[in-house]
Symmetry: C2
Subunit: 346 residues, 2 copies
Amino acid sequence: MEKEIRFPEIRPLNIDRYARIISTGVGLPKAVVTNQDIIDEFKLLATDRAVQYSLGIKERRWSDFDEKVEDLMMAAVEQCLETANIDIEKVDRVIFTKLFGDYQVPATSIGLLRKFKAKKGIPAFDICSACSGFMHAMDLAIRYVATGDDYVLILGGSVIAKCVRLWKSPDPKTVFLFGDAIAAMLIGYSETKSFLASYLLTNHSLYDNAKVNFGTEFLRSGMEDLNPSIFYMRIADGNIVFNSSAKYAKVIAEKLLRETGLTMEDIDFFVTSDQSEKIWEAQLKELNIPKEKSQSLFHKYGNTVSAMSPINLHDLIVSGRLKRGNLVMMQAHGAGASSGGMIFRY
Amino acid sequence: MEKEIRFPEIRPLNIDRYARIISTGVGLPKAVVTNQDIIDEFKLLATDRAVQYSLGIKERRWSDFDEKVEDLMMAAVEQCLETANIDIEKVDRVIFTKLFGDYQVPATSIGLLRKFKAKKGIPAFDICSACSGFMHAMDLAIRYVATGDDYVLILGGSVIAKCVRLWKSPDPKTVFLFGDAIAAMLIGYSETKSFLASYLLTNHSLYDNAKVNFGTEFLRSGMEDLNPSIFYMRIADGNIVFNSSAKYAKVIAEKLLRETGLTMEDIDFFVTSDQSEKIWEAQLKELNIPKEKSQSLFHKYGNTVSAMSPINLHDLIVSGRLKRGNLVMMQAHGAGASSGGMIFRY
């Protein structure tokens, strides 16, 4: 399935107006859903023990039908702005990298501004880039600050539980995988350089490996009704997700280290997308990084799509492990079609 | 419905690595659909003459079920790259501002790269920002070039006809409005300054005025099937679209002119979104711009969402009316929630 793709050369950031991460936040649905809850709800032939053993997941958060995407965004942003002690009116731009929004149109980032009762008409839009979306959003934010913005608010994450719940016979291989969460990050002007390198890549030969079918392509003449499964993320081959994550982790690390002149030993923390505990471990092994320099929250939150990396970063920050001045390599990988990473001094 | 929003101050572009528009292209479905075709297909009580009189539209292009979004993107990009005499492998980034993609995941911009059989893993993602999306994409492209990219390929537009065709009883007020089209633009490094100012705004108090319901918010417990109408753009109040377009056209023009020190008389062409012929005329009237300095292709293509402005620009270029060195004010407006504009020397 996978063909040889030549990965682009890394390009230096032509930036002399610097940005830094000011603060982070996370918004989570109220309901903690255990493996047993899912087994019971969908009457599956599985045991909590087997699921934990094979996937490494214990629980995840799932939205109820009365929870909106903008509610989770609001919680994440309130935490983020409170930590920064910055009012929403100071923000120059809002970018939300979504799996689904509350609606397709308008952008859910505008729904967030309404919920905030923002008085200023802040420019805002949504991105669709699945798991790698937060790396695109961070890359965008530092370029906006470089070219004039003072504060850029970025959000990412997934709300998929309502879709799973509507789908009467969900795929038993993936129904345990996904969780709902939104991560927020405020990136703002900095007098000193913090972001040292950024790198993104795609591999179109893996375009078919993970799909959310909603779109115009599956529409067929004569269709009467749509099955709710069009909202669901279907993964064709889990091994490709595993192998490509490890492979790209290495490609991206090499590009970032060469660009910055650093070695892996200089990096204090490796923050990445943990689509499963095994995928996280495979990335560490590929890069020869000890577990103490990274972490996975997959057991607790599952695959939260573009929120995986920033939730891990947020947790390292609030737990006090990651300190200002530490060097971070942050990466995010999807099911093979898009990946990215950055090195920054927190 | 509309509340007072304080529009943000325009911020100077902190850019010393310049960009310019290198080339443009347009991809259109094969089928030209007349008003009479729609009247016949949906058995509507209307006449071609009445539709032409009230809306100013004669025909539009509608995709067939076997046409993909990536097919239209491909046609637009081939034209764009051929004009520029640039190979796809030279492109540093692809951004598609969509209404719908072929799928929700992966990004349809990656599907385009597969169709091109691109050998390089070019970073690519999709944006959701409805009608104002192309202004965001252009704004993004010049910031990418400012911070290191050489060539950024942006695309925008709408493919909605399949959705309309599935929906047995489409809204008779809006079924004539929308057309399918994809516009492409190659923005690249320039030794001289071309983009003089850029301005974007949102108004969250108009969040509910136009909706594409696909998203998690309309999902309800116990739902069995989804109606294809979730794909359709519903407009709550057409007067708001009309009034906000004229109002924002003025706000944006004033900000852009103040920032550049230019007057409206200095502008050679005003290129804008023409959601109807009347909306186009209202913008010109508000800005006191003679019709010779602008144009509307609404009669021919209808509302193509984020493709409206770039298709008008493309047509001015290929018809030879717009010449290198001309000053252009380009704007794009949606149904009120998001708008933007730029001044550039073509």
